[in-house]
């Protein structure tokens, strides 16, 4: 797995949410959960050509999707924030991959900091690290995703895994990964995953 560049804590709402099909009215884009920036408040540039495609998919649909059918505002996408997940870096990496002349399969990963506007307590910090990995190739299935996850977790010493259906705005199907914790004697969530939406 090749490491992706993630050295930008400041991200635009476009890459953090819109390019990942997260609607502009989604609660996670609220003041309560995301750190928005005072200065610089707006991203000076969005990728030309690409952002109008994203606008179309949100508001009218596209690529065989019905879309969300609401009015997509570019001002909302320009708002700067501290990234809430490293998936924004994955989106950028996939964008670069798409602009390659010939498609080559890739496996990417990253481990870096993310920021969420939460009150601190025993299990929550305002900044924490996320491990992210993705595989892009032809003919991948949900079974492949489960296989990769099983291998990954077994290297960490976690072998008992169960998968549960979940929801992410940018993946469908999505799965939450649960592992049996011997100490707590119950199944705990150890990860989230999914197949990116077309």
């Amino acid at each position: 797995f090749t490491e992706m560049p993630t050295d930008n804590f400041v991200e635009s709402s476009f890459w953090n949410f819109d390019a990942l099909f997260q609607p502009q009215q989604h609660p996670a884009r609220d003041q309560h959960d995301t750190f928005f920036l005072l200065d610089p408040a707006e991203a000076p540039q969005l990728p030309p050509g690409y952002w109008s495609k994203v606008k179309k998919v949100h508001s009218q649909g596209g690529y065989s999707s019905q879309g969300y059918r609401y009015e997509w505002k570019v001002e909302e996408a320009k708002k700067n924030l501290l990234r809430t997940h490293t998936t924004s870096a994955s989106a950028r990496a996939l964008f670069q991959l798409a602009r390659q002349e010939k498609f080559s399969p890739v496996k990417y990963f990253s481990i870096d900091r993310v920021f969420r506007n939460e009150s601190l307590d025993a299990t929550h910090l305002a900044e924490f690290h996320q491990v992210e990995g993705l595989v892009a190739d032809r003919g991948l299935t949900l079974g492949h995703l489960m296989g990769v996850l099983r291998q990954f977790f077994s290297k960490l010493g976690i072998s008992q895994l169960r998968f549960k259906p979940a929801y992410n705005p940018y993946t469908e199907p999505s799965m939450e990964v649960f592992s049996y914790h011997e100490g707590l004697k119950k199944w705990v969530e150890v990860g989230n995953s999914g197949v990116f939406r077309p």
Partner: protein, 569 residues
Amino acid sequence: DEEFDELCFEFGLELDEITSEKDIISKEKGEEKAKGASDVVLYKIDVPANRYDLLCMEGLVRGLQVFKERINLPRYEKIIPAEGEGQRLIITEQTAQVRPHAVAAVLRNITFTKDRYDSFIDLQEKLHQNICRKRALVAIGTHDLDTITGPFTYTAKAPSEIKFKPLNQSQEYTASQIMDLYRTDSHLRHYLPLIENKPRYPVIYDSNGVVLSMPPIINGDHTKITLNTRNVFIECTGTDITKAKIVLDIIVTMFSEYCEKPFTVEAVEVVYPNGKTHIYPELAYRTEKVKPEYINKKVGISETPSSLAKLLTRMCLKSHVTGNGNHLEVEIPPTRADIIHACDIVEDAAIAYGYNNIQMLIPKTYTIANQLPLNKLAELLRLDLAAAGFTEALTFALCSQEDIADKLRTDISATNAVRIANPKTAEFQVARTTLIPGLLKTIAANRKMPLPLKLFEISDIVVKDPNTDVGARNYRHLCAIYYNKSPGFEIIHGLLDRVMQVLEVPPNEENGYTIKAAEGTAFFPGRCAEVFAKGQSIGKLGVVHPDVITKFELTMPCSVLEINIEPFV
């Protein structure tokens, strides 16, 4: 209980907690108050954010029963009344500026019990919080149809012109008085700003001037629904028409179960300001054609088309095989607004099959992997700094404004820092532009440890940069600090020399590094130097100024080195 937990897990719901009313009151108010409360077991279930049809008991039970093949998915029917007999909702143009859209429907001959009534109110609240975005996008109003007469008018008037008795109040108030009345109400005050400053407030009247509601704040008391209500008029107003339609569809599909003719909804004609009319609810059934092999391929299973059709039908997506066996026609009911692409259908097929029944495979993708050069350099330097006897620290990237400015004897405007608009506490006002405060705070938290304290951190700092596409960028800095009874400038200098040695940068001016005496606000005058390498200034080192030391609540002298390592990648 375990069986239900299993079922929820398979279906995609999270069984959060198994409790009872008694337990809840016990935890919140103490055992005494809990005496006499119900012991009936309650399940707290977490529903995924995009499944509005599972938000109430009726929908949840229906969904699970179809999943377990105990019942067939009911067919929701819209009854269009004969000409002149149905209800009409007329929208006037004044609403365009404040809350333009409205949809409506009627539930005929419905029977309420206490449980059903509670569930009905509960669903509205949940939808308000969820898809309606706290009533900003859509607001729901439900009324006893027998207390009012159509046709109904949805218009907007100045606050002083609107007067009615709000729900559960004893007298009439004007709209402005209502605003004041609910300003302190813990539940309703959050919705006041939605219309407060508009010149006109939205309001719905019946043909006799009786106020049904003033969305999104409150309904009128006159049309209050009771357990004896038989006919319900439902209206949804808002700023997003797609969501208003979805909300209306959800409410009527869920509760039409209790109508005399189950699963039927009476349509309402909505008249727009330009004269056009539209029948609501839409209750649209959409068909998507999917290829069985598409589903099989995406999930990694190989099921026959007819078994796939059965799986999808279990998920409330009625399907059957068409063509010559290689197509599936999937009917998407109005309750499943979350299905917007074939991949959503694929997910449902996978859920019905059971995620844990899918065979796990490793992708056959061969790739040659690389570490990001910057990270590789950082990792190598970490090892060398640790070998030099320094301990690594990991500190927060966000800090208070004082930490990077006042406490370092400089002004915030000189730092070029990225500022946060909505910090929850003062500790997260800015993104750090230097690693020094983090390390100083770490030392302050570890005062009791034996001296000398030698810490380092190799991590990102953030500064504004108009040349990037977002307006800011990260730089990877290396920072080391030595805290002891004497400042140890020579130790920090030695560390810099060691770092340059492992980076293979010679100590000369032309192609290596040099240090020159310099001034630094955070440093002791005359004990500060600037480091130059690769043709640029990459950082500073020196003895920390006593004022800075005191501001960070420390008492001993210390020296610090901070450089940008990106030029060395």
